[in-house]
Amino acid sequence: MTTTPISADRTTAVAARATELSKIYGQGETQVVALDRVSVGFRQAELTAIMGPSGSGKSTLMHCVAGLDTFSSGSVRIGDTELGSLKDKQLTKLRRDKIGFIFQAFNLLPTLTALENITLPMDIAGRKPDKQWLDTVIQMVGLSGRLGHRPSQLSGGQQQRVAVARALAARPEIIFGDEPTGNLDSRSGAEVLGFLRNSVRELGQTVVMVTHDPVAAAYADRVVFLADGRIVDELYGPTADSVLDRMKRFDTKGRTS
């Protein structure tokens, strides 16, 4: 099986890029290759979905590109910054200033109100939030009436909307989502995905999300398929059916190879 070459300049600029990225756990007999020389670029103002079966390395790829995890070889760039050479402190600063996160388990601080959770990254950075932008984001995710609530007083969908707003509010260069709809029912999931797509279309935000749900992937501009730590395919303008179709193909491929 060969890696499908990626057409690099479909749009003007790339927000993040991994080149020949490898991640290997353990040594010798027990060695596990999680990522095997993966090269991929995530273009600005585009919603990319990373798909693949369990253990394909999709989460590891996202973690490495987002500066949450270290990698064994290759390079990762966020904007102009090369991650491989950064120390923990600089990585933390990079995540704080340039990256937004949405997690599967919401990960809000229960002691903070919805608004405080949203502005948390800026509080950490000691920056004042851009009031107008904040209003726009809150308006978009429809949380205006619930800003004073604590996470325990919100439904799962509302909590994830707070998480989306938190990721957007700091205007990061790129947002990473790790199964952002994994804990939600389909209606709430659709809402959250709608917000993410809107943020790309209307606000020009760059979003990369890992998902195993073809319906979620269908919201993306482009789907990257991973299997056994390698990129095996990609798809532009996906629909749920076309994604499902491709996945079925990998499954059979996987079984026959």
Partner: protein, 841 residues
């Protein structure tokens, strides 16, 4: 997943270790206290028994009752009695004992020991079996002396050196001709013993030809009782008394046991406090341990384990922890016992040597405390865990405390606290000992009340710290919110520190106030620059007053001369003072009449006036020894104090007494107090090591020293309680960090760096510790005020003195506790693997 599980177990282990530590400290404290007191009591008892080894029967003088106007006294035991004792059937030998106060100077001229234990005596013949010589030979004449080996070693004296001694007259400078060993209790306790030959000792101690005691040894085969009855037959009953060596040793042992009792009880109170604090920590830890395992326990329940089985599994764990901790605690306690003895020794209190005593009682107490307390502390959380329905436990990690139980808790706490405050306030209106019981009850009620209320108090008090925390940005904000997240846990953690600090602060405030009051009382009434007295509290020879009065630099001086008289058939100790000068030397508050002491005019203190029913103008006759009478008139009534009290009479008005003695001499210098003035006085007294020349400052210093020693011991003991508190804070933080690992992982992911995470944990720790500290200091000040008011009710000079510097130190101490306790949990939090933390639920 495996890694998370492993980490879980490791965290578990660490917390279990901390539980063991907490229990261990409590046990160590209790067993250490027991070991310490047993060791000391036994050592004193052994040394006293040894001290009576050479005595089978002791013959002492019998008190001669006062007859008519003659005060009673002890007749001397003379040579004839000694000879008669030695000839009694069954007696092997008889030794005449002469002893008395003997001040010995070290090479710098300073007194060795504290004056109470510096003794002199006689060396019997040329080979005294009581005092085996290690070098040199027996002394002969007033210019030769023996020194005990311990003192010789301490002061660096060798055979051939001259040593300055003072008995009560002029300074002697005999040559040391020998060094001996002794098991004398006074020497063991840091005093000195100097021995002269018998004739010189009799002369020096004012017993020409007489003895203080005759020690008779029995022949082999003669029992002490048999010898005693023989002696009783042979000796005149009206002049002598006989006691067997055994009963002397028993009597002394009993006295020592009695005197140790107070200390033992005091120490046990602290052990109890440490245990009390330890109990909370243990209960807290088990609550957390169980809460953390709720899911696991629920799973057990789901697959069919009964409630009882779940509770039992927790109890078995507690039993194991308790046993392990009990045994190690006992071992540490033995070390603490040894350490306390050394500590006491370093404060200048010499204690006889002896083996460490670990009684079976100590072992049983230590193990019982360890096992029983731990199991009790674990029982409640274990039962609670078993009660949770399995499904509820599996779906949520922590059972939320219901508001209802907090309402109940707050009501109960408010009731206790209010009752406590009321009882304490009531106790302050009582006098002296009457108030002790209600005060203790009130204090316990209030502490329990505040303890129950701590969760409620945590919110407003921690909110008050918000402005300070805001400086630390997000870390501060999160720390504040985290610290009030689980009010019960915060409360339990803070209360451990609270109790320790309550006691420390209370004691400090009370001791400080009392010290100031006593100092004021002792020195404010004193106009004299110096007070001269004997180091052992004995009386001075009148020569001292004469010599000092003759000095040019002395502008006024007065002795305080002891004079016994019978007034209205009752004995009264009059104090002879220099009538014309006394007004310049004292500044006593006069309640009634005038402060005039001349001729037949006298003044009396308020206490004596009250008990005798005297007023200004009362006249009475004082009957002195030898049938001399003197008619005296009360000119005024003054307020007595620690230094000056009783009936003050002009020395010129006193008849010539057979034995004129001065308790002390007060001196006012023309140029005021100064180093040279003191030097002049000391020189005038021939730099006598037995006489102390004390300025007002020296006096207050010596009072302060007493309190300092007391406080230092308390601080040392309470340090244990604080140590337990540190463990408690570590425990809580470790638990919190563990529970919030997902949050911390998220915070790290969205850009909180390691330093900020550490800072967050540290600030939380500081907030909790300072919360406990503020509560404890507040309560302590209240108790210090209340108890001080009670104790000071009899002191007109008492007022509350708040030692702000100490209070600041205590606050700082709680901050240090917080900072130290956070070291490890903060590190752990900052090293958390983000990805594992975010994923684990």
């Amino acid at each position: 997943m495996l890694r998370t599980a492993l980490r879980n177990v490791l965290a578990h282990k660490a917390r279990l270790l901390m539980t063991v530590l907490a229990v261990m400290l409590g046990v160590a404290f209790v067993s250490g206290t027991l070991v310490f007191t047993n060791t000391i009591t036994d050592a004193y008892q052994n040394s006293s028994a040894k001290g009576f080894d050479g005595v089978d029967v002791a013959v002492s003088a019998k008190y001669r009752e006062s007859t008519g106007d003659e005060p009673g006294d002890y007749p001397d035991l003379d040579q004839a009695l000694l000879d008669r004792s030695a000839r009694v059937p069954g007696a092997a030998s008889a030794v005449g004992v002469v002893s008395g106060f003997t001040a010995m100077a070290d090479k710098n001229g300073k007194l060795i020991g504290d004056g109470w234990q510096t003794k002199g005596g006689n060396y019997w013949g040329t080979d005294d079996s009581r005092y085996p010589l290690t070098s040199g030979r027996a002394p002969r004449g007033e210019n030769e002396v023996l020194v005990d080996a311990r003192t010789a070693e301490r002061a660096g004296y060798k055979v051939g050196d001259t040593v300055r001694l003072s008995i009560d007259g002029p300074v002697l400078s005999p040559r040391i001709v020998g060094v001996f060993t002794t098991d004398d209790g006074n020497v063991a306790a840091g005093g000195s013993l100097a021995l002269f030959d018998t004739a010189s000792a009799q002369k020096l101690f004012g017993k020409a030809g007489g003895y203080d005691e005759i020690d008779v040894r029995a022949k082999p085969g003669t029992s002490q009782a048999a010898l005693k009855s023989q002696l009783d037959k042979a000796l005149p009953k009206d002049r002598t008394e006989t006691t067997t060596g055994q009963s002397l040793a028993d009597e002394q042992a009993q006295q020592i046991a009695d005197s140790m009792n107070g200390m033992r009880q005091g120490l046990l109170v602290f052990a109890g406090i440490a245990l009390f604090v330890g109990t909370f920590i243990i209960a807290n830890t088990f609550t957390m341990l169980v809460a953390q395992r709720t899911k696991e326990l629920a799973l057990l329940r789901a697959v069919g384990a009964s409630r009882r089985q779940v509770t039992r599994s927790v109890l078995i764990e507690a039993f194991v922890v308790g046993t392990v901790a009990g045994v190690t605690g006992l071992a540490v306690g033995i070390g603490i016992g040894a350490g306390l003895r050394a500590l006491l020794g370093s404060f200048g209190e010499s204690i006889p040597d002896g083996p460490l005593v670990v009684t079976p009682g100590t072992v049983v107490a230590a193990l019982a405390v360890g096992v029983v307390i731990t199991m009790l502390a674990a029982w409640l959380p274990g039962r609670r865990a078993a009660k949770i329905p399995p499904v509820a436990a599996m779906s949520s990690l922590h059972a939320q405390a219901t508001t209802k139980s907090l309402v109940l808790r707050n009501t109960l706490g408010a009731l206790f606290a209010a009752a406590g405050v009321a009882v304490v306030l009531y106790a302050t209106t009582l006098k002296g000992t009457d108030g002790q019981a209600p005060m203790g009850l009130g204090a316990v009620l209030l502490i329990i009340g505040v303890f129950i209320l701590t969760p409620l108090l945590s919110r407003p008090l921690i909110a008050a710290a918000a402005p300070v925390l805001r400086v630390f940005g997000v870390s501060g904000k999160l720390a504040r919110q985290n610290s009030v997240r689980n009010p019960r846990r915060t409360a339990a953690t803070a209360s451990a520190l609270m109790i320790g600090l309550t006691l420390i602060t209370g004691m400090t405030v009370m001791a400080g106030s009392l010290q100031t009051a006593i100092e004021k009382m002792a020195t404010s009434a004193l106009r004299a620059d110096y007070v001269v007295r004997m180091a052992n509290g004995n009386n001075l020879s009148p020569d001292v007053d004469r010599k000092l009065a003759a000095l040019d630099d002395v502008s006024a001086s007065s002795p305080m001369r002891d004079a016994v008289a019978r007034i209205d058939g009752e004995e009264e100790y009059l104090t002879g003072v220099n009538g014309p000068a006394i007004g310049k030397l004292t500044d006593l508050k006069v309640d009634e009449g005038a402060f005039t002491v001349t001729g037949s005019k006298i003044v009396v203190d308020d206490t004596t006036a009250k008990s005798r029913g005297w007023k200004a103008g009362t006249q009475f006759t004082a009957h002195f020894e030898g049938g001399r009478n003197k008619r005296l008139t009360v000119a005024g009534v003054y307020e007595g104090n620690e230094l000056i009290r009783g009936v003050l009479v002009d020395t010129a008005a006193l008849p010539k007494l057979s034995d004129t003695r001065d308790m002390q001499v007060m001196v006012k210098m023309a140029g005021g107090a100064s180093a040279t003035a003191k030097d002049t006085l000391e020189k005038a007294l021939d730099s006598n090591p037995g006489i102390l020349v004390q300025s007002k400052k020296d006096l207050s210093d010596s009072i302060a020293q007493l309190f300092t020693l007391l406080l230092n011991m308390l601080y040392g003991l309470l340090g244990m309680a604080v140590l337990v508190a540190v463990l408690g804070v570590i425990n809580t933080l470790a638990m919190s960090v563990f529970e919030r690992s997902q949050e911390i992982g998220m915070l790290r992911a969205i850009g909180l760096d390691r330093r900020a995470v550490k800072r967050m944990v540290r600030l939380e720790s500081l907030v909790i510790s300072l919360f406990g500290g503020v509560l404890g200091i507040g309560l302590g000040v209240f108790f210090g005020w209340a108890v001080g008011r009670l104790a000071g009710s009899s002191m007109p000079t008492y007022e509350l003195v708040l030692p702000w510097d100490r209070i600041a130190i205590f606050l700082l101490l709680s901050a240090v506790v917080g900072a130290l306790a956070a070291l490890w949990p903060a590190r752990r939090a900052s090293r958390l693997n983000m990805l594992a933390a975010i994923k684990s639920e």
